[in-house]
Symmetry: C2
């Protein structure tokens, strides 16, 4: 990872006055505008809570001419972000992206400013550099808004659970995919149609790849895993599968088996052959209806945490949107500002535990396989045999008569078929892949319809 290329000045506190805290805002989109609204409408309350007034000293934007909400004082707008960050006590970054934001935040830190950022991509890819710089400079680096929007999650994981041992995190941390899966569940519509509708309603981007491909959730998983396990996990350590392969039939079947399909960000601490490893991954999964995450619908986010002493915990709320994200940003700003007034900083990075990443093939979970098979005696025996040979143990099997229209069936196979829904006990990804390969080689298996993981059982 590249070292930041800029001058480093001494990190003396840059406050001009003990009665004011200078705040620089980088970015003035939906979130930035709501940050300004909170700083403006809650000014007296924030002043009382901090013990000094948070004064917005500038807002860095790309284009001074863009039309903006009337709450924005246009005299604060500047295109010179590099200069702006040198005259602030706290730099709030809500512009996103790597190439501009990264160097600007390093520059801010090197000038002694505390940093509040909502930039999950930057944290997931270059978080270690940023943490190291902040620790060296003795300034705060807060990022509550980077994961699960308004939900207080980073602070609880980083501080409240610092005396406990977190074993597992299961998170619904992407509102777009949760909305899409939810609509597929409620309406029975297929993926493409729901995404098109979500785009029309503004719930999905014109290019939805980062969301539906799972990449947004993967960045958040890396951030959460690093904090929860006190180790280094970057976006590239996260194995990632999106929801583009989820069909209306998968959704229909999830209901039949008492599940709901969710895109999960998963971080697990695992004993692997006596040594410890972490698995960090994003994929769609069948979640039992009885699990607290199953009821999280629409654009809401929720994160389920299992800690050894605390037991199960869940955090629920809005994961995106201007005002909810701004709530998290300004909460961090108040913490950083209080430290400016009272001295000290928040907890530094805790990454003493260098825990290796578990190879994707060694991850163990439950699977649900749906197979189209010949409708003849002995098929189940053959299928069971293949699973047993790969040490994949069957938990339940259900056989369903083929209910498709005759012409559709005939196009695929001339012999009568049935469907098998096999749920496995815990098995490794590698064993499952080998099992699938073996099943594909069986004459009696005409098609592997779907393979879905089951989580939270």
């Amino acid at each position: 990872m590249a070292t930041p290329q800029h001058e480093v000045t001494s990190a003396t506190p840059a406050s001009t006055s003990p009665t004011a805290i200078r705040v620089a805002l980088l970015g003035c989109g939906v979130v930035g505008t709501e940050v300004v609204r909170l700083l403006t409408t809650q000014r007296d309350d924030l002043t009382a809570r901090i013990g000094a007034t948070p004064e917005l000293v500038g807002i860095a934007v790309q284009n001074l001419e863009t039309e903006r909400d009337p709450i924005i004082d246009r005299s604060l707008l500047t295109t010179d972000a590099e200069e702006l960050v040198t005259r602030a006590d706290i730099v709030v970054e809500v512009m996103g992206g790597l190439d501009t934001a990264g160097p600007l935040l390093h520059r801010a830190i090197s000038h002694g400013a505390a940093v509040v950022t909502a930039n999950k991509e930057l944290l997931a890819k270059q978080g270690a550099d940023l943490h190291n710089a902040a620790d060296a400079a003795g300034v705060d680096l807060y990022f509550e808004a980077a994961v699960a929007g308004a939900i207080p999650l980073i602070r609880p994981v980083r501080e409240s659970l610092a005396g406990d041992r977190i074993d597992r995190i299961l998170g619904i941390v992407n509102g777009t995919t949760n909305y899409v899966l939810d609509q597929m569940t409620k309406t029975g519509a297929n993926f493409d149609d729901v995404v098109a509708e979500a785009q029309r309603l503004g719930y999905a981007e014109a290019d939805p790849t980062a969301d539906v491909g799972g990449h947004d959730a993967a960045a958040k998983a890396a951030i959460l895993a690093s904090l929860a396990f006190h180790t280094h996990v970057t976006a590239s350590d996260v194995s990632c599968e999106g929801i583009t392969g989820i069909t209306a039939e998968d959704v229909k079947w999830s209901k039949e088996t008492g599940h709901v399909i969710k895109l999960l960000a998963i971080a697990e601490r695992i004993k692997n052959n006596g040594t410890e490893a972490v698995s960090v991954r994003v994929h769609p999964a069948l979640v039992p209806n009885s699990h607290p995450l199953a009821n999280v619908d629409g654009a809401f986010n929720a994160v389920f945490i299992e800690a050894q002493a605390a037991g199960p915990l869940m955090f629920y709320g809005q994961g995106a949107g201007g005002a909810p994200t701004a709530s998290a940003v300004v909460g961090d700003l108040v913490s950083a500002a209080r430290h400016r007034v009272l001295g000290g900083t928040g907890p530094q990075r805790s990454s003493y535990a260098e825990i290796p990443i578990l190879p994707a093939g060694e991850v163990r979970t439950h699977f649900q396989l749906r197979l189209r098979v010949a409708d003849e005696p002995g098929v189940l025996a053959q299928v069971s045999q293949q699973l047993a040979e790969q040490q994949v143990s069957i938990e339940t099997v259900r056989q369903i008569l083929d209910q498709r229209p005759l012409d559709e069936r005939a196009a695929e196979s001339e012999t009568p078929t049935a469907e098998l829904v096999v749920t496995t006990h815990e098995a490794s990804e590698a064993a499952l892949a080998q099992t699938v390969e073996a099943l594909e080689g069986l004459d009696v298996v005409t098609k592997i319809i779907s393979i879905l993981r089951v989580e939270g059982a």
Copy 2:
């Protein structure tokens, strides 16, 4: 409130060495034992997270001879708590009660120690004194475990939401009552039988008054309201009604109308005739099945928060028990210890807003009234008239034929009766009380069967 009666020495940090943090534990019951277990089993991790080793220097107990878990090093036991608190950097109080714990914590603070306490009663009744002492001494006062056990809640309300404006908190914060109501819902049994069973299973105390009377929840409501609204709320400001009056029939009826009965701790910020007031109360309420709190069953706790920018948030987890409570305690201990190592303190008390308490009669909510009435024409008109005269607006009315056995009916009234279930729009407690009085005066109303508030609609 009494001023603490003891000498005040200078608050110089008492750490003997930068590599160790001296921890004194007051109390060694279920929670204290689990605190020791975490400090012992997680010692290396805690040391890495803090940057110094948390060393248990003593455990104050009432009786040195009591049999204890083998994790307890008996050489640390002492009956001299007053001496113990003078030789610690952090004093952890899990003994409970007011008379002994209060002066001990003041003594600890005056000797420069940070305090971590799970003592909700002390905080709700004498919290202001304790906060003032801690702020004056420049030491941390943490109390995550005092409300909702393992659930990170105090820190999110106090820090994460410090940039937002909390309007309302609805909490299931007492596991015993939630378990009792849950069992009444699941089995149809009556209150006394379920409480007896809960006592047998260890889910309820031999004297369950503090729980079923709502007093435990009221202390927690006071603590949450103070933090959320940056004001002073003490236990005596909380209007409190327990669950002893909830009948099996109430529970049955809640199901029929799509609700579940929960004991709620409620803190609301209200505009009352143009000025702001807070209502803090504890009472059983009908919660719609669709509300996230409705699914919180068994001994779990959950707290639902509505903030202006963040929107709805929910926090869920175990509200009691040794290990869960210890998780919260040791999380606080790590925060306080980090401050000892790195300098600074956590956020001080923020109680700048002196918001008056709304008189109980002015609280506005929805009500469900169940009335036994004469089964004759014109009854609904008479009942409606009485509500209208008190400005209580009806949302729905449902009339049910009397399904009781004939002999039971005859014992109460000689004429045929029916039952009316009336749900109101928002009305004040005072107006509702007057309405009930007026209804009792009607010849056609033979009995007011129950009055329940509806929350979370």
